[in-house]
Amino acid sequence: MKRKAVRTEEDIESTFEKYADMLYSISLIMLKNSRDAEDTVQDSFIRYIQSDKSFESDEHKKAWLITVASNLCRDRLRASKRHRQEPIGELTEFSQDNEESGILDALTRLPEKYRIIMLLHYVHEYKVREIARMLDISESAAKMRLKKGRELLRDIYRKEYM
């Protein structure tokens, strides 16, 4: 029988310190709304403390948190079709220069299913197989979405910024 994990205060703090920014960046790009993104990060950690799941490694924990956060983002997007989105200017202020803000802008304009896969692959360096597992899709669907996400990103960027 698997041993149930106990979350100590120290563990909660260190996990939060380690992964909060990462979850926030994923949630912000997914939801385009900083308040909702903060709520999602908070909810993800609440799921973490409520869960008895024990993790084999830090990587396992990280992947689990990303899965939780991306599912919560999807729930939020589904729940409110009239989702209030933040003006793009507020998002691009996180970037250092024009080129970066262009890519960030293009990234946020991808359809949701491509946005998350591009983030996981290019920002968090997950392999197609790992992403497929996290998003509960087949490897070939993940490959296909990655390919289309790349194409779309390139198209939006070229059209708007070149």
Binding site: Y24, E38, I49, S101, L107, E139
Partner: protein
């Protein structure tokens, strides 16, 4: 060469104030959760006792009824249609059992080892995978209505069996991965040598492996001049050259990919024509098809488990629909 997507996202951080506020909220939740758990535990024990007592009473009544010769029929409660499955990973999935529609029986999608979940789509008995929304649209009230769809190859393996200009696609992509690894190694060696010269200790890097677990001693030797100092210039030249090579390989790989998708689209188009579906067109290496749900029932292609059909999305950028065909990043 830093990954531009990662670079663009790297500036996104929570403010210290937000972090403090959130962490305190999470800790409060943890404390109240612990209290709730105790209450739940107590309630559960109380409920278990009640259930046992109620069970005893029912058993006594049943025995009494059987003894008096009455027929007792115990019906198993069944839930049909909607099932709610709560997960600790965020979503409360609601799965709808598909109703049977002639020609649209789900095959493996209902079984435990189904390769695709109902979350993303359905595999029909003809082995074709449809994105969920499209599937619902085709089998539902719009089954007479024509819908524009795009057909892709959903088995990644097929691409690796494809040959382009006498080379297997597998080898073409493998070369790209080799280039990428080589660039990473060179950057690592550069970092090691730069740190070494800035710390100016004994002038010798002693690491045998880089952070990717690759041996680096040969490379370290290669980029050290006779006087023991690091030859950063030579290293940078080699990095630039390898990056250039990677760019060329990447463009070649993109060509091979395009050739694969075109080849696949042409085969798909032929398969569909053989099934009597004529309204097909190849645009930007993808096979577009306009058909109704009823027409789609006719499909019985040979290349089973390869077709991935999704709805054509007119909101996609123009170039996806009819633009250029180079996939190079």
């Amino acid at each position: 060469m830093e990954n531009p997507i990662r670079k663009s996202v790297s500036g996104i951080r929570l403010s210290e104030e937000s972090k403090r506020r959130m962490l305190s909220q999470i800790k409060k939740e943890a404390e109240s959760g612990a209290n709730k758990k105790n209450i739940i535990r107590f309630t559960a024990i109380a409920a278990a006792i009640c259930v046992l007592m109620a069970g005893g009473i029912i058993a006594a009544v049943l025995i009494d009824n059987t003894d008096s010769g009455k027929n007792i029929e115990i019906k198993e409660a069944g839930i049909y249609g909607r099932e709610t499955k709560g997960t600790d990973e965020g979503t409360d999935e609601v799965t709808q059992k598909p109703e049977s529609t002639p020609g649209y029986q789900t095959s493996s999608a209902d079984t435990e080892d189904a390769p695709y979940t109902s979350e993303t789509g359905e595999i029909l008995s003809n082995g074709i995978y449809y994105e969920k929304e499209l599937y619902e649209k085709l089998r539902g009230e719009f089954s007479e209505k024509k819908t524009e769809m795009v057909i892709s190859c959903h088995e990644g393996e097929a691409m690796y069996l494809f040959s382009f200009e006498g080379k297997s696609y597998y080898d073409i992509e493998a070369q790209l991965i080799k280039d990428e690894l080589e660039i990473k190694r060179l950057y690592n060696v550069k970092n090691m040598l730069t740190q070494e010269s800035s710390s100016a200790q004994d002038g010798q890097a002693d690491a045998e492996y880089d952070p990717y677990g690759q041996p680096v001693d040969e490379l370290l030797k290669k980029y050290r001049k006779a006087d023991g100092k690091a030859d950063i210039q030579q290293l940078e030249n080699d990095i630039a050259q390898t990056e250039k090579k990677m760019q060329t390989d990447s463009e070649y790989c993109a060509k091979a990919q395009n050739a694969f998708f075109l080849d696949f689209a042409e085969k798909a188009q032929q398969d569909l024509k053989n099934c009597g579906i004529k309204d097909t067109e190849i645009i930007n290496n993808y096979c577009h098809i306009t058909a109704s749900g009823k027409e789609m029932e006719k499909i019985n292609v040979k290349r089973k488990n390869m077709y991935y059909i999704e709805q054509y999305d007119p909101q996609m950028p123009q170039s996806y629909n009819d633009g250029d065909t180079v996939i190079a990043e």
